[in-house]
Amino acid sequence: MKDLFEIIDKPQNFPYCPGCGHTSIDMALARAIFELNLEKEDVLIVSDIGCVGLVDKLFNVHTLHTLHGRSTAVASGVKMVDEVLFDNKLKTIVMIGDGGATIGLLHLVESAKLNVDITVLIHNNFLYGMTGGQHSGLTPKEFKTSTTRIGNPFEALRIIDILKNSGASFYARTFSQDPDLKDIIKEALSHRGFSVIEVLELCTGYATRYNDLKGSDLKIILENSGGKIKEKIERESFCFLYKNKFFDKKGEFEFTEIEVEKKIELKDSLKIVIAGSAGEGVQLASSLLCISAILGGLNSTQKNDNPVTVGSGFSVSEIIIKDGDIKYTGIEEPDYLIITSIDGLKRAKGFIERSKNIIIDESLTDNKNFIKVPARKYIKLRGGPTYFSLGVLFGKFNPFDFELYEKAILKYGKAKDETLTCFREGLNFGRRL
């Protein structure tokens, strides 16, 4: 690159107010890019909303103008791909004001945490300049703005402290007239990992209108609010770890694959509802029932219902088994209703009158028409009451080959021996009924 003005427009063409710190920051950035001898195509400026967002057309590099506060997150998306899937050459610089930094604070925190290789320049002019000089989260105490005419009653957010504690591996704080600014930016751009520089500046449109300040006071504000900072920490990035740890394991998509063992006959569809308590293995036991049907060359569906928690309240599975295509997956009239707990009983109330056969834990009812079984005796095993009840169903009604359920347990189940024992005891219990 021969000429600085190949990468940046001439300062007299800048759109900012005379004396605005943005001009100084842009010039420092341009010189940093120039002195680092970066190719234009290897630089991306991601700009946020506000006067800071006018930067795009000044730079002859890739530019990306985003939504308010989202610049850091969009830049991080670009950079994750660039680092993990490409050659990690793209220098990505986020130009953000104090509005963007606070509206998108979580993005800054998260990108610092992941140590994404971007450089963030926070243009902190203590207020929202473009919209009329209103106070921001970074307005110092006693500072006057159009919305804090008698002085801001709150301390400013110490954004560099927040990002330092979030894991930023390079963080600095200075002011726009600092002669070192260019070198600090150069250092940030050369740093591998998340780098952030907070640059204090005065909005000549509003800060100097409401406060008795001149440009040289900026240094005093800096000194009074934590001073100049520059720290660097070597730390691995999320992208580095991702590439090196996650890409080892090549392989196929992990479906639950089932080889059909034999073709069994089933005249009508089977509709089974299993209602129990969440955390008691209802859904796995139900999945094994579906899988056993698939092993027998049949089709099955399993529609689950549970409250928002997975370990409390009811858990219900509606299972349809059919020799043919299943379309609607709901069940109105179950052929079999299994109820293994009080939660299940409450939830299954609507099914009881419409069920042909009901298998229920003996503690839950006195109704003579129900098949009462000692299901909860098997509660020590996760899913025990359901496996036992399903054993009863197979033992008494023999809907299809029970051995297929045993095979499903052995191939796809958990705690296989105990599960098999539960199921077989149910099977024997059912056969005696």
Partner: protein
């Protein structure tokens, strides 16, 4: 080979087969069943799957990844989609391909996380500020998730636009036995890259309906992407006729090209009655048609709709019943001006609409 799976896994598998290599997610029922397999299986094909700190980050990461040139996707439900819509507008405006899976649950607000619903068609169709068209594609069965997510990624890449893949809890989370060989895999389309002939402009087009050639940030042609009003070069501008032209282009690009992606299933029987549906409710409609003398039209491209096509079918029937699982009759509202006095709306929330309920309704009209 048979698999026992749910719509969520089929969406994940389809997305990977469509070439998606970047996924960002935030957990939410009933879309977590897409997030989890993407985290598990995307690294195996050297793709990036990342957990974001919220849905705004998730979609923003996807936008960034897509701009670097990688097919990107996220998945959420109503509450998360609500957070995403500012960025969705951004992707429309800056012409960035991304696919957003919206797995519907009972709403509004947090609603019912584990209860299915079809209440977000109007919400998503009209979610952009300024009201610019956004393609919406919806699978009508669990197995169709695979095929239609590939089409969705194709539409987003081909038209350089965000696409909403609209589905429901009972599609993403219900498990089903599926013959792996029966899944249909459409041809995978790629976004058109600028070839280097002529001057590169980020938003270049001749006709309003043209899709501008893409070039990634970090590529050899300098790019200017922006969500603000801009000219064809991507320069932020206001008082320039080209800026308004670019905005009309955003509409024409979708409306004039979407017919290449018009997905539907029309089942015709000698009957006076047509049932119109989409999503999970379509399975009930198919079952009704097995025993009743009715025709049905299942829409899979839900927005924008081709009104001429719909009129040509609606003209053949005396009564047209729109069935869907929401309160307002979302699809009914979209098409009622085409139905006139022939239209009937059957809606319900709280549980699936059963074939029996549709049959009962048919008796009453």
């Amino acid at each position: 080979m048979k698999i026992f799976t749910n719509g969520g896994e089929l969406i994940a598998k389809g997305a990977i087969d469509a070439g998606v290599r970047f996924f960002a997610g935030y957990p939410i029922t009933p879309a977590s069943v897409i997030y989890e397999p993407m985290m598990r299986d995307l690294p195996k094909v050297e793709g990036i799957a990342v957990g974001a700190s919220d849905e705004i980050s998730a979609i923003s990461y996807c936008i960034g990844a897509s701009l670097r040139g990688i097919k990107s996707m996220t998945a959420t439900s109503g509450p998360g989609f609500s957070l995403m819509i500012e960025s969705l507008s951004y992707a429309i405006m800056s012409e960035i391909p991304i696919t957003i899976v919206l797995a519907q649950r009972l709403g509004p607000a947090t609603g019912g996380a584990t209860t299915s619903s079809q209440g977000d068609l109007l919400f998503s169709a009209f979610s952009s500020s300024g009201s610019y068209p956004l393609p919406i594609i919806s699978p009508s069965s669990i197995e169709e998730c695979y095929e239609l997510i590939i089409h969705s990624v194709n539409v987003s890449e081909f038209l350089r636009t965000p696409v909403v893949f609209l589905t429901e809890k009972e599609i993403t989370m219900t498990k089903k036995s599926i013959d792996l060989n029966s899944l249909k895999k459409p041809e995978v389309l790629e976004r058109k890259y600028f070839s280097g002939n002529g001057q590169f402009k980020t938003y270049n087009f001749k006709d309003l309906k043209d899709v501008p050639d893409f070039s990634p940030v970090g590529g050899k042609f300098l790019t200017r992407y922006t969500g603000s009003a801009h000219d064809k070069k991507g320069e932020l501008k206001k008082d320039d006729p080209e800026v308004i032209e670019v905005l009309y282009h955003l509409k024409e690009k979708i409306l004039k090209n979407i017919d290449k992606f018009l997905f539907y299933e029309y089942f015709e029987k000698k009957s006076d009655i047509l049932i119109v549906s989409y999503g999970v409710t379509s399975e009930s409609v198919r079952e009704v048609a097995e025993s009743k003398k009715v025709s049905y039209l299942i829409l899979k491209t839900l927005y924008p709709l081709n009104e001429e096509f719909l009129k040509s079918i609606f003209g053949r029937y005396k009564k047209i019943l729109v069935v869907e699982e929401n309160i307002m009759g979302n699809l009914y509202i979209l098409i009622r001006h085409l139905l006139g006095t022939k239209g009937y709306s059957l809606t319900k929330i709280g549980s699936l609409i059963s074939p029996g309920e549709i049959k009962n309704f048919l008796e009453s009209i």
